[in-house]
Amino acid sequence: MVTASSKSEEAMLRIVHWIAESWMFIAFFAGFLLFWEFSIGFFNVPLYILTPPSMIVTKAWADLPRLFAYTYVTGLETILGYIVAIVMALPLGLAIAFSSILKRTIYPFFVTIEMVPKIAFAPIFISWLGFGLLPKVIIVFLVCFFPIVLNAILAFNSLSEELQRFSRSTGAGVWQTFIKIRLPAALPQCFVGFKYAGLNATVGAAIAEFIGSDQGLGFYIQITTGNMRPELAFAGIFFLTAIGLVLFGIITLAERLLIPWHISIRRAQS
């Protein structure tokens, strides 16, 4: 039996274990930053090409209000596009999984579109819809939608034959079978799609902003680079990464809460 004290001991042990496992990486990363910091002066790299990391921190600090404002803009585009993608892709994936007509029509269509780099549509959407929020949300949506819908179709189609037979042998209705068996069994594969989409969401937002915008972190990175301010561009990249990490963190947390029983979660925790 696991008691409270042994649980906190376990947590301590895990931290000690993590440090023991990753001290080499920590040392390497610190060394990398130090090398960057001092090689700029040593090799006489002009500051309009590359600045030392310490300068990125101080200059970004001075421009923090703008960075925060743009992080909000880009974050909103990312989250909206991502949520709309999930809300539309899951029911559609479910419908395709259980409809032989949709499976012969929409499914191959989606597989084909998945081959197209969605980012290539960005200029078209921006020329249609202008510089505002909507075209960015649509592009994030496009980038996220396909991995989620394709994984959802796979998820809802891969219930084991035994569990299908078990359900039928109980005489349970479609809804009962869905809630108690199909849905929970499909969640792990759905999360594969959620995670893949989450990793690509900020990429979609940033590129959409590169192409046409007057605010947001993509816009910021482009403008500061044009103004020979690489330290601010790096700060923009840092904040863009932060958006991606927060999104991915939320997805991972949701995964742990919803499917703690799944092998991938159990392996990560042991």
């Binding site: 084991s160 035994e162 569990l163 037979r165 078990f166 359900s167 039928r168 042998s169 109980t170 005489g171 349970a172 009962q176 079978t177 108690k180 068996i181 929970p184 069994a185 499917i259 029983w261 799944h262 092998i263 159990r266």
Partner: protein
């Protein structure tokens, strides 16, 4: 060799429908595909199973014994012939039986108790009055201390015991077990066989037990249906006239060993072993 076989009253029962059992099979055949590419997989098989019988479908892998079991459960359609349970023809899934599938149907997101409850929930049976029943069921297979564990925390043998509880919790009169011990090690198998026999002696439900182990079939069954390979057919049905429980003494008795040897000879004749 043939003479030895007849000494043990093998019952050849090609019945034609005059006798009625709890489960009646008439000319049951399974064919996959159609036209010239059709594969004749199984049958025709006719068989009556009476109430309270423990009958094993014994045969090599691929002989269609699982197919036959699934057809009795109404989970696979027969290509020809009829199956009747308690006088009613089987069309579509039968919900008043208990089935244990080859791969167990424990779901990883529920505990052992939750998995047993799943069977009731799927049937729309309220759990209110069932707690004691489930507890005693888990006790009967010595799982009471593991009821809040998840399937992945259990050994293979414990998982099969839990799956057995899941298949039995709604008190089915007919129980179909499809190689429930197939993936277990020899010692665990032996142990669970004894449990199965004890539980069957208590409930005397009608059991169809699919297996490829001759010894297992002889130990557990009141009757053994010997199924020969491709296309699967019932070669013979043997009444196992040995006292229950079939403990080590019974298993070491000359009579038990003769049953096993006779069946081995049938399979040997078909080149299976």
């Amino acid at each position: 060799m043939e003479g030895g076989r007849s000494a043990f009253h093998f019952c050849f029962r090609e019945r034609t429908g005059q006798m009625t059992g709890l489960i009646e099979l008439k000319g049951v055949t399974k064919t996959y595909g159609a036209g010239s590419s059709a594969v004749h997989a199984f049958g025709p098989v006719s068989l009556d199973i009476s109430e309270g019988e423990f009958i094993s479908f014994l045969g090599p892998s691929g002989c269609g014994k699982s197919t036959l079991m699934l057809m009795i459960a109404g989970l696979l359609d027969v290509s020809a012939g009829t199956i009747a349970l308690a006088g009613k023809d089987v069309h579509g899934p039968q919900t008043d039986i208990g089935i244990m599938f080859q791969d167990n149907t424990l779901v990883p997101w529920r505990t052992v108790r939750g998995n047993v409850e799943l069977q009731l929930e799927m049937r729309g049976i309220s759990l209110d009055q069932q707690a004691d029943h489930i507890t005693s069921l888990l006790q009967s297979v010595r799982l009471e201390d593991f009821s809040e564990r998840h399937p992945f925390e259990l050994s293979g043998g414990m998982q099969q015991r839990a799956a057995f509880c899941q298949a039995m919790v709604h008190n089915p009169k007919i129980v179909l077990l499809d190689e429930p011990l197939g993936k277990l090690d020899a010692m665990t198998r032996e142990h669970i066989r004894a449990d199965l026999q004890r539980l069957w002696m208590q409930t005397r439900s009608t059991v169809i037990f699919v297996t490829h182990s001759i010894e297992e079939a002889v130990q557990l069954s009141s009757k053994v249906a010997v199924i020969t390979p491709r296309p699967g057919k019932i070669e013979t049905i043997i009444d196992i006239d040995l006292p229950f429980p079939r403990d080590l003494n019974v298993k070491n008795s000359p009579k038990f060993i003769r049953y096993v040897r006779d069946i081995q000879e049938i399979f040997h004749g078909y080149g299976v072993i």
